[in-house]
């Protein structure tokens, strides 16, 4: 046991502080989530499809090279590309571009695995006694943190940032570990379902995280709209004596977003630099403040790693939306195509007008193809009715968008400058801090598509800054070369000069020597002649 445990006991006994509030936000209707919750019988385990598609991209959407060949047999959990594991036992049939979950319906090089029939079932996680669990966690935490690499842990909240990077980037140590049990959007219920179904595994996963990160405090943030889940989790936490405190936070969109959650839990307003938009220099990341946010789904996956050395290869997906016939929560192996998920749950859309979306109503997007595979980022699949477009009207400058913006931006002004492509002004107005939550769109009486403009402007700004950076680098390289050439030239000249000097001085020296010698000789001659 660690030394700090006594101190920690004290911490967990302490009553959790009241949450802070944040600017703006919206109270959204969560009744649809209740529907997903009560219709479901826990979390359904989806059967393994005959074919799994694993896209070869990393968090930054860069292509990565596979480490396996066609016809190679892969085992479950085997690393098939840096940071990517095979979700099942099978044979690689092809490696080719396949559609993946992307707003533009792009394709990316993917490993297609034909799964073998004798794949082991996914047994439910076993829960040891409190003592045995502690021992397991301790021995796991003893290992170097790099062993986590095998677990292929990534955030299951929707962004999919590699967890190990998150932990390691806090190089000044982790002060506060925040466990995010707040659902991002009203339709998403996968975290809640997981808390209701396997609270013990989550609690043990959290304890492992606390031990791994050596954090000073760990706070589990749950919205007040999930009293049952909170109760389950708090019981599990008591049973296993987990050193974490539960904080009930108000249900107000977007509490689940990292920036706002940190503000609610710690009161710190980080002008947060999204990893996607490194344009504004003054902003900081949470880990620079010693804060790390981890989704409860990730905590659950970590316990699977501790308990049976199983990497993260499946996740809970919420199936919802107004046109979903059987809304439920299912555990889906990564790489399972969306249409398989829908057909296995008897949710195949029955008319052409149904739109299938991946991700929530605000953060997600409509899918171009149902062949796209589920990945760690897919927290929900929605089936919605056809969209009726409301044409945008002129802005009446009502200021409602600024009133609801959780990061205190001026969306109306930003929109003005973003449309006229004035990137400097946008940067001044801190466009990079926009978390793309969509609150401004929801309240805008003129139905202006603000968030869409911001997404576009952000990606353009990113592109431009990359270009600038490249240009700067090239310029620097050119300058360096010039410098080097000049230096070389100067050196050469200096060397010549030196040699000349040397010759000259030698000449001088020899001359004076000769004179001296001559004089000497003359003197001796004189002397001898005198004698």
């Amino acid at each position: 046991m660690r030394v700090r445990n006594a101190w920690r006991k004290q911490f967990s006994a302490e009553k959790p502080r009241a949450p802070f509030s944040f600017h703006g936000g919206l109270k959204l209707d969560t009744s649809k989530r209740a529907l997903t919750r009560f219709n479901s019988t826990g979390i359904k385990e989806l059967p393994l499809p005959a074919k799994l598609v694993v896209p070869l991209i990393d968090y930054h959407k860069n292509n990565i090279e596979p480490l396996v060949n066609i016809q190679q047999t892969v085992s479950r959990g085997q690393i098939i590309a840096p940071g990517i594991i095979s979700p099942a036992y099978g044979t690689v049939s092809v490696i080719e571009p396949c559609e993946f979950i992307h707003p533009g319906g792009l394709s990316v090089n993917s490993v297609v695995i034909d799964t073998h029939a004798n794949n082991s079932e996914n047994p439910p996680v076993s829960i040891p006694s409190a003592k045995a669990a502690q021992a397991m966690i301790n021995s796991f935490a003893e290992q170097p943190i790099e062993t986590l690499e095998q677990a292929a842990l990534v955030g299951l909240g929707g962004a999919g940032f590699p967890t190990l990077h998150k932990i390691k980037s806090a190089n000044n140590g982790i002060h506060t570990l925040i466990i995010n049990a707040a659902e991002c959007e009203p339709e998403i219920a996968c975290d809640e379902a997981l808390m209701l179904a396997e609270p013990e595994a989550i609690a043990l996963g959290i304890e492992t995280l606390v031990q791994l990160t050596q954090c000073q405090q760990c706070i589990i943030a749950i919205e007040d709209s999930k009293p049952l889940a909170q109760q389950q989790l708090s019981e599990a936490i008591n049973t296993f004596d987990v050193n974490a405190a539960i904080m009930t936070i108000p249900t107000r969109y977007p509490t689940g977003a990292e920036t706002t959650l940190i503000e609610v839990v710690t009161g710190k307003r980080l002008a947060y630099r999204n990893a996607n938009s490194p344009t504004t220099k003054s902003q900081t990341t949470p880990s620079e403040h010693g804060i790390v946010c981890i989704n409860i789904g990730t905590a659950h996956a970590l316990w699977q790693m501790v308990e049976r050395n199983q990497a993260l290869d499946s996740r809970v997906v919420s199936l919802g939306g107004s046109n979903m016939r059987n809304p439920c929560n299912v555990r889906v192996r990564f790489g399972t195509p969306v249409n398989f998920v829908l057909s296995a749950t008897d949710n195949t859309p029955d008319n052409a007008h149904t739109r299938i979306r991946a991700g929530g109503p605000l953060s997600g997007f409509d899918l171009h193809s149902l062949n796209a595979p589920i990945t760690a980022n897919t927290n929900c699949i929605l089936a919605e009715a056809a969209f009726i477009e409301t044409p945008a009207q002129p802005c009446i400058r009502c200021g409602q968008c600024a009133d609801v913006c959780p990061v205190k931006l001026l969306p109306q002004q930003l929109h003005w400058y973003a449309q006229s492509e004035d990137h400097d002004k946008c940067a001044q107005l801190n466009l990079a801090a926009c978390i793309e939550c969509g609150c401004c769109d929801l309240v805008c009486p003129a139905s202006i598509k603000l968030t869409e403009t911001f997404r576009y402007a952000k990606s353009t700004a990113r592109f431009l800054s990359e270009q600038n950076q490249k240009a700067d680098e090239a310029e620097q390289r050119f300058k360096n070369r010039e410098e080097r050439l000049k230096q070389r030239e100067a050196d050469r000249k200096a060397a010549i000069e030196k040699r000349k000097q040397a010759v000259k001085s030698q000449d001088k020296k020899t001359n004076t020597d000769r004179i001296k010698a001559a004089l000497e000789r003359a003197r001796t001659k004189q002397k001898s002649s005198k004698d």
Binding site: L362, A402, K449, T451
Partner: protein, 336 residues
């Protein structure tokens, strides 16, 4: 099939669109309109109807000339609101053609020349009002005395309204008999003659004139808008406070500040005119400055200026300052 980026439709959130907002504003104006009609002149209904119809026609014409979609532009209802505000601001007896001129200027010079809704720097209704006040100073200050109004039939009055020249002697209306200056004007005249005003008399006159009641009714409507969160408190509060403070501190007239706040068009202006989001400052901090400026200017014009009611000019002057206010505000915001 349409692929929306944000599925705002799936998130059931009852938000108002521009049209709803305008309908709410019209609804909130109703109590004030009725009290006005009762105490001051029922002719206001005629004016409102005329102004609204003309405004829609002119707006449609302007949109047609500009090659814009007529339906979408007129539909939002903002021009109807502006027309109603203009009709409420002018004297009820204003000849119809002068009102028509005012509406035309409001639509064309107040709004459409700048590119329609959202782009106009000045409050359109106040542009129309100011133009009328400058062009027709005589009729624009001709207010009928409420108690004498009953002696004339409505038909008689309408007849007068429809005539081209209100002051035409052929109309056989004894204007001196039936019109009387508004309390504000009355006070002004007295002050100019160097007469002191008896406080009690002034109070009585204020209350009996019906303006206090009208203002209270507009206040009620304004509170409704506040409650519905269609407007924010910043502008009305700062207008009223700064006006009250100025009259408390500097007023030479013998009228207590709480009465002068309920006189003239102050409530209508504070809740309905100054709050026009298009022409107000954009941040809450800026709006406080904007409102305070209007209140103070309104007081200064009433007290020292050449016009008895200065709200229109106060609003227009502050509209002029909005870019400056916004700029300074944004600059502070980023450096802080």
């Amino acid at each position: 099939m349409l692929k929306p980026i944000l599925d705002t439709q799936a998130v059931s959130l009852k938000t108002l669109n521009t049209q709803h907002i305008m309908l709410w504003v019209l609804a909130a104006l109703l109590p004030g309109v009725f009290v006005y009609a009762w105490f001051i002149s029922p002719l206001v209904f005629f004016n409102i109807a005329l102004a609204a119809v003309l405004a829609v026609v002119f707006e449609a014409l302007a949109l047609y000339w500009r090659g814009q979609a007529i339906h979408g532009g007129v539909q939002d209802g903002s021009i109807v609101v502006a027309a109603v505000l203009l009709a409420l601001a002018v004297p009820p007896l204003l000849p119809f053609w002068q009102l028509a001129v005012g509406v035309f200027i409001m639509v064309m010079l107040g709004k459409q020349v700048y590119g329609g809704l959202g782009n106009n720097p000045f409050n359109p209704a106040m542009v129309g009002y100011a133009a009328l006040l400058v062009s027709f100073p005589q009729t624009m200050t001709l207010w009928s005395a409420p108690d004498l109004l009953n002696q004339l039939t409505l038909g008689h009055l309408l007849n007068a309204k429809l005539s081209l020249d209100l002051l035409n002697p052929n109309l056989l209306i004894d204007w001196d008999g039936i019109t009387r200056a508004t309390p504000l004007e009355h006070l002004r005249t007295l002050k100019m003659q160097g007469l002191s005003v008896d406080q009690n008399l002034a109070q009585q006159q204020f209350i009996s004139s019906g303006w206090v009641w009208t203002n209270l009714a507009f206040l009620l409507g304004g509170l409704l808008l506040l409650y519905r969160r269609i407007i924010q408190w910043h502008i009305p509060a700062s207008v009223i406070l700064s006006f009250a403070l100025c009259s408390l501190l500097f007023s030479a007239q013998n009228v207590p500040w709480y009465l002068s706040v309920f006189s003239g068009a102050l409530m209508l202006g504070a809740f309905f005119i100054a709050t026009d989001p298009v022409t107000a400052a954009s941040s809450n901090r800026g709006r406080l400055v904007f409102g305070a400026g209007i209140g103070a200017l309104c007081f200064i014009i009433r007290e020292f200026g050449g016009y008895p009611e200065g709200f229109a000019f106060a609003v227009l002057l502050m509209n002029l300052c909005v870019p400056l206010i916004d700029h300074i505000d944004m600059h502070w915001g980023t450096s802080a």
